[in-house]
């Protein structure tokens, strides 16, 4: 149990998906204009990543049974695309309230490299089934935290008056760099 807790803590802070691994930078920079939408995106990613970590674990076991490990990239991306479609339909049918808040983000998640990245890291590090789910969930929580913090900072940035050429993306990137530097502080901790 402590093992899993340590894994989760490390995935959220020390090896934060955005600030130390760069998985999922496209939505991080694209959908972080407002804290509300950032939170929505983060929750949708958390949902999909937790489920897909479990699903890809199973798929990999099946592939490994037939010695087809080299097909993992194709298999995973298809599983993720199918899963996102399925979750979208499921939410629309049974939980309309959740669908109306997360719905617009779901199609974007297929090409979010955080989801595929988590699946591949799970395989690379040889996580067990439980560890895979815990890792997927906590990495997504780390992603959500990063994108919400960043959206909050970007709201403040809108009132700033930088040199013209730094307006927009460059300023946002430099801010992200400063936040990443703050997250470096966590890497001083040694765990396990």
């Amino acid at each position: 149990m402590t093992n899993i807790l340590l894994l989760m803590f490390s995935a959220i802070f020390i090896e934060n998906f955005i600030f130390s691994k760069f998985y999922g930078c496209c939505p991080f920079l694209g959908v972080s204009e407002k804290p509300d939408t950032a939170l929505g995106m983060g929750m949708a990613v958390t949902f999909v990543m937790t489920v897909s970590s479990a699903a890809t674990y199973g798929v990999y076991q099946i592939l490994a049974m037939f010695g087809l490990e080299y097909l993992k990239t194709i298999a995973f991306i298809l599983v993720i695309a199918g899963l996102v479609q399925f979750i979208e339909m499921f939410l629309r049918r049974f939980i309309p309230a959740l669908y109306s808040s997360l719905g617009i983000f779901l199609p974007l998640i297929t090409t979010n490299c955080a989801v595929l990245g988590a699946a591949l890291v799970n395989i690379q590090n040889g996580h067990t089934f439980l560890e895979s789910i815990a890792f997927g969930f906590s990495a997504a929580i780390g992603f959500t935290m990063a994108i919400v913090i960043f959206a909050g900072v970007r709201v403040r940035l809108r009132g700033a008056n930088p040199p013209k050429c730094f307006k927009g993306m460059p300023l946002a990137l430099i801010t992200a760099g400063l936040i990443a530097m703050a997250f470096l502080g966590f890497s001083g901790m040694s765990i396990g």
Partner: protein, 230 residues
């Protein structure tokens, strides 16, 4: 939707190349495909490896999507594109594992993650799915080279500042104390931010020059018209 009904000429080839590398540079102008850009530019060697791997996948997936564009139903096109792309990514991954083992190990998961690079899906959707094979493969090559150039630029700057080397060769001698922050994640964000700011500056300067030129031309035309009236 066929844009290139006439014969494909050298001039349009050069135009596409220029647009991919400079005017519509996928990384520095369109700001697409950020994950590999930030993650794999810790050194020039890694940057070239990642850029070329992406270029190969981009060119071949563009070619095949263009060849199959009349057979892929509109509703499932994204899924079809992803399958084609991931096929080529798997091929590139296996080739790199066999022939460039060091590079393969230092790039790690990011080779597989070429599948979800937005540049590739964006070119498939915006260009290859409604153009002929030859322009499509050139588009893939030029966008890929633009991506590679941007990566190399970023990789060089970060390697010089963060390690004092270029492609592993020391350039400042022993006494140089590199700022290690630049090969860490924070340095990636900051360097890319500064590079994009530089590109925006250059673009506004050249746009202003263009405008001034047009204004001057208009004035000259007005003046000559005025002359004709008299």
């Amino acid at each position: 939707m066929e844009n290139n009904s006439e014969k494909y000429s050298v001039r349009s080839f050069l135009g596409q190349l220029k647009s991919g590398i400079i005017e519509q540079n996928p990384t520095l102008v369109q700001v697409l495909g950020m994950c590999p850009t930030l993650a794999t530019t810790t050194s020039l060697t890694n940057a070239i490896g990642m850029g070329l791997a992406t270029t190969v996948v981009l060119a071949f997936s563009n070619l095949f999507i263009s060849l199959l564009r009349k057979f892929i139903p509109k509703q499932v096109r994204i899924a079809a594109f992803i399958v084609i792309i991931s096929g080529f990514v798997t091929a590139v991954e296996m080739l790199m594992k066999a022939y460039f083992t060091d590079l393969y190990q230092s790039l790690g998961v990011f080779i597989s993650l070429i599948v979800v690079n937005c540049i590739i899906l964006a070119r498939a959707e915006a260009f290859a799915s409604n153009n002929k094979p030859l322009p499509s493969i050139v588009d893939g090559l030029s966008m890929g080279l633009g991506f590679t150039c941007a990566l190399c630029l970023l990789g060089t700057v970060r390697e010089i500042l963060g390690a004092g080397t270029v492609a592993g060769i020391s350039i400042f001698g022993e006494s140089f104390q590199p700022a290690q922050m630049f090969i860490m994640p924070a340095g990636a964000f900051i360097t890319l931010g500064c590079l994009i700011a530089l590109v925006q500056k250059l673009r506004t300067v050249s746009a202003e020059k263009q405008k001034a030129k047009e204004l001057a031309a208009e004035e000259a035309a007005d003046a000559s018209e005025g002359g004709n009236d008299q």
